[in-house]
């Protein structure tokens, strides 16, 4: 796949951000509660998409296993909410344990009584898991298709493990969060959900600034170098394993934050977060929005998911076809994604094809001119 490095102009970025922020500020007053909640969820998905853009768009690592880290973040958030809301249940442990005859809290639940630990765990645990997994894979120089397959295999391992652990984390049923308590209120209540919407919106912006900071400058240039010609980076004295491990770990941390925000706004975390199609969808959002643009990842995640829910309501079962078609369209016609197309020659070429804009005289015409001059001299 040919990668082009797209740098959105400051003006375009600014305009898109003004639109996004205006929309986010207006959303709570113009959208019904149900839609606002959906928007909040999709905004949280934008954060995992930013991570995918960092590792895929910039570093060339196509991970099909980001669902692992997304789910881990979700589980951390859900465990905190469940354990702190379990005082009225037998043994003061979450209700589901009773179903399986578990009387004692599994040891790894204990630290989640602490809100501070939980807030860190949401991003540190996925980042650590990603870092360890990444280091082992990158150290052995597994890349390209093999890397993608390996991440997908890891995803399946995690999925099956979480699915089977009823006595530890309620297995396939997952952990519900909407009926738990936070600040003395139900997490599913309107006021708490509204708060989560604002937190999500702020964190999307923060995650964008953070990602921007990571890829700007020399560190980001090395990532691009690794994407385009990894051996060359190595022979220049850099160790690509470290750079790849760091960026994969950062993407894992972002996925964790994203998963936690998604969980608290959708009311449940379950192994369904680790299904194969969901992790592939994350890649599609970035591909459609525009690889290597960061902003494209955010727009792709939010708009595609919003379209998905609108289409699914109107024409159930048709979404898979539309999503597949969208992906094919992007791969064949807009390889740089929508933002990449807008930023490049795309709009001008389209206008030209429609006959609305005159062609700009370019270099070849100059050459012709020289040739005729040459003939005259002879």
């Amino acid at each position: 796949m040919e990668f082009k490095n797209l740098k959105l102009s400051k003006k375009t970025t600014f305009v898109i951000w003004v639109i996004i922020i205006a929309f986010i500020i207006a959303a709570p007053s113009i959208l019904p509660v149900f839609r606002l909640n959906l928007l909040g969820r999709y905004l949280s998905l934008a954060i995992v998409a930013l991570g995918v853009d960092l590792i895929w768009g910039f570093t060339g690592l196509l991970s099909l296993g980001q669902g692992i880290f997304f789910a881990l973040g979700g589980y951390c958030a859900a465990m905190y909410l469940q354990i702190t809301s379990s005082s009225e249940f037998p043994n003061n442990i979450p209700e589901f344990f009773g179903l399986y005859g578990v009387d004692n809290l599994p040891f790894f639940w204990e630290p989640f009584r602490s809100p501070i630990f939980s807030l860190f765990a949401i991003w540190v645990i996925p980042a650590l898991v990603a870092g360890i997994l990444g280091f082992l894979v990158f150290r052995n120089r597994i890349k390209g298709v093999y890397f993608s397959i390996l991440t997908q295999a890891a995803l399946l391992v995690f999925f099956n493990f979480f699915n089977g652990q009823q006595k530890l984390i309620n297995g396939t049923n997952g952990l519900k969060t909407d009926v738990t308590q936070l600040f003395g209120q139900m997490v599913g209540s309107e006021s708490i959900q509204r708060m989560f919407f604002w937190i999500t919106a702020l964190l999307v912006i923060a995650a964008w600034f953070f990602s921007k900071w990571v890829v700007k400058g020399r560190f980001g240039n090395i990532l691009i170098g690794i994407r385009d010609d990894e051996p060359r980076v190595r022979f220049t004295g850099y160790n690509p394993v470290l750079f790849k491990t760091i960026i994969f770990s950062i993407a894992g941390g972002l996925a964790g934050i994203s998963g936690a925000l998604y969980t608290v706004q959708s009311g449940i975390v379950s192994p369904q977060f680790m299904t194969v199609p969901f992790s592939i969808e994350m890649v599609i959002w970035v591909a459609v929005g525009g690889r290597g643009t960061l902003l494209g990842a955010i727009l792709g995640a939010v708009l595609i998911n919003y379209a998905k829910s609108l289409v699914s309501e109107a024409l159930p079962a048709s979404w898979m076809f539309i999503q597949g078609g969208l992906f094919i369209l992007v791969v064949t016609a807009l390889p740089e994604g929508v933002l990449g197309w807008l930023q490049g020659e795309g709009p001008r070429n389209l206008l030209q094809k429609l006959g609305l804009k005159r062609k700009i005289e370019t270099y070849p015409s100059l050459e012709i001119k020289n040739e005729t001059e040459g003939l005259k001299n002879e």
């Binding site: 020399r218 560190f219 240039n221 170098g225 385009d228 190595r234 220049t236 004295g237 470290l242």
Partner: protein
């Protein structure tokens, strides 16, 4: 064990076998500090494998490589590069999606740790170094152009500048004049000549005119081993070399 302590680089009895095929066969070669050495040989003689062994890309089946008295065998590519071995590839390999300046920043930056790169701004003396390199390769006007937009010759030169920016003690230059115009070839020869003395340079090429212009010692590789070493005149009159490589003019 390093027999020849005067040499910067020495390859001792190096053999490389790719599934039974001997790419290098008991190769011995040593370079003095500040030397300029040309390496020639027919296709498949093992020229590129020879560079791969030094830079750590290929592990030899037998033998040892010493650089500044240290064995390079078993060291990772980036560690060898940090020890002071720089390599320019056959086709110009610059980072096409980065600008000329960004390419040079990558090469001059030290230390090469992720933390240093993400936290700190590039040092002033490194910026000066970039400016100096831009002048050497005559690309000052293109500092903010994407390297991918440069002409073939400019890419070759940018890669040489990136090599210089690494400040290597040993520069391995693989076919630096492939695809260059005659004038660019001459300039490149002069540049490489001016570098030897301070730097130790190994040049691999096919272009005999270019090699002659380098006016250096030449090693002729054939079938993975050193066939002959000496000045251009010596090797041009060597019967073995004529047979396998140069060919007889009268034929």
């Amino acid at each position: 064990m390093n027999k020849n302590t005067n040499s910067l680089l020495s390859l001792e009895n190096i053999s490389v076998s790719f599934e039974g095929f001997l790419a290098l066969n008991d190769l011995n070669l040593s370079l003095k500090k500040g030397e300029l050495r040309a390496v020639i040989g027919p296709n498949g003689a093992g020229k590129t494998t020879f560079l791969d062994v030094i830079t750590g890309k290929v592990k030899p089946t037998k033998g040892d490589v010493f650089f500044k008295g240290k064995s390079l065998i078993g060291r990772k590519e980036h560690k060898i590069a940090r020890l002071g071995v720089g390599r320019k590839f056959q086709s110009p390999r610059v980072f096409e999606n980065l600008t000329v300046k960004e390419n040079l920043e990558i090469s001059v930056s030290t230390p090469k740790s992720p933390l240093n790169l993400i936290n700190k701004k590039i040092k002033n003396d490194q910026l000066d170094e970039i400016e100096h390199l831009m002048k050497v390769i005559n690309l000052s006007k293109k500092i903010n152009s994407k390297a991918g937009a440069l002409s073939h010759g400019q890419k070759q030169w940018l890669e040489i500048a990136m090599l210089l920016g690494q400040k290597p003690d040993l520069m391995l230059v693989d076919e630096p004049v492939a695809g260059l115009t005659d004038e660019e070839t001459d300039l490149t020869a002069d540049l490489l000549k001016s570098l030897s003395g301070d730097n130790t340079v190994v040049v691999i090429d096919h272009d005999m005119e270019f090699i002659r212009r380098l006016d250096s010692n030449v090693s002729v590789l054939n079938q993975g081993t050193v066939l002959c070493e000496g000045t251009m005149d010596t090797i041009q009159n060597d019967k073995k070399v004529i047979d396998v490589y140069l060919g007889r003019p009268e034929e």
